[in-house]
Structure formats: structure tokens, C-alpha cells
Amino acid sequence: MSAKKLYLFTIIGLLLGYAWIGFHTIKAQQESEKVYPTCLIKITTGYPCPACGTSRSIISLVDGNIKQAIYTNPFGLLMAFLMLLLPFWMLFDAIRKRQTYWKAYQKMETFFNYKPILILFIIIVLANWIWNIYKGL
């Protein structure tokens, strides 16, 4: 992936993510805390996917309920961290006219191509998936 594409992709993703979380936070204050399911796996099979519950986790985090956030889905913390970090990182790159984010992304890709890391990552995701199904998200 080229640097330009990566920055564009990240910006679109962040905008969508913030819009999604913002919409649900406002909605949660007014009526129910129900989050609309968008996950294809959840819609078709009824079972949650490893990332299901990320939105709910971040919404709990916005409310200041860290325990509930971790219980709903630990990936929510990671996503919240990325959503806070990436805009500033890209802004830094834009101001300094450097591509540190893109370089870090490429490093991350080679890091994940390293077998033990990949296997560990898959195990974590699978464990989280089993936990998600057990919780019945």
C-alpha cells in the first residue's frame, strides 16, 4: 500500500469511527444503549465475531467505565488508543512533512510476518472470540 493510500484510508476510517461512536454516545444518553449490528458474521450466523463489542466497549470507556469496557471487549481499549493517537500522529507527519506513520505501518507489517508473533496474535484473537461467544455479545 502506498503512503498516500494509507493516510487516506486511515482518515476515512477515523472519520467513520468517530461518527459511529458519537452517534451511539448521543443515542445512549437519550434512549437505549443498543448498538446496531453491522458485523456480517453477527447478522448472518447470530454469533459474534472476535471484534464484536468494540463499539460498546468504547462507549463504556467514554462513560468512564473502564472495567465494563474491558469486560465487553478488550479490543475496544486498543481501538480507543488508536483513535486517539492516529490523528495526532498524522497531524505531526503533515506539519513536519515526514512519513513516520507510514514507516511504522510497514515495520508493523514485517513484524506480523514473523511467525511466532502471528501465531500469538491468532491465539489472542481466537481466545477473545471464544470469550465473546461465551458472553453472548
Binding site: G13, L40, C49, A51, T54, E109, N113
Partner: protein, 119 residues
Amino acid sequence: MSEQKADMFIMTNAKMFESHMVPTIREKLVDADDRTWSAVQTLNLKDPTTMLIVSLLGGSLGIDRFMLGDTGMGVGKLLTCGGFGIWAIVDWFMIQGATRKKNMMKLSQIPELGINYVG
């Protein structure tokens, strides 16, 4: 490389590449040295049809992108339920093109062929 060998490669692998690149590939193969044949033969090319099936079944988990080697995008897809489900659906249509591009990148990494491809 003999024309026969080049034609054989094209016949078996034409579907792996974008159609407009096929004539160029054949030309470069014919021009190339015979020693590149083994390098070309052992390339681990991905079949676009297989990738489409993988994308249909495991797209929400980003498995298609992981298989292609776009690990970053795979992680992104996995952590967002296939990008709110939208990215997963978009990828059903994009993945074959992406696979063909990746195959072309792999072929262009053989320096003896002298293919310039930026994707």
C-alpha cells in the same frame, strides 16, 4: 527462454494476472534468460478465484488480506468487524484485482525479467 516455455507459462497462469499485462509478461519471458525459468516457476502465485472464496467466507475476519500479505489491512479489517461490514463487502469485488496486482508485484521482483511495476 524459448517461446514454447513462455506460452506454456502464459497458458497456465494467464488468469493470475491483469489481462492487459499478459502480452508484456510473455514478451519479457521470451527475452529472459533460461535460468530465470526456475525462478518464475517457483513463484507462489495466488489464484484470484480462491481468494474470492476466502474473501466471501472469511472476509470479515480479514483472512483474505492476511493471505495476500497485506497484514496491516488484515489487522484493520479484523479489529473492525470487516470495516463495519462495508469494507468486507467492498473487498468481495476488489480482492480479485488486488490478487492479480500482488501476483504482478511478485513477478516484477525477479530482477532478470526487468518488469517495472508499481501497482
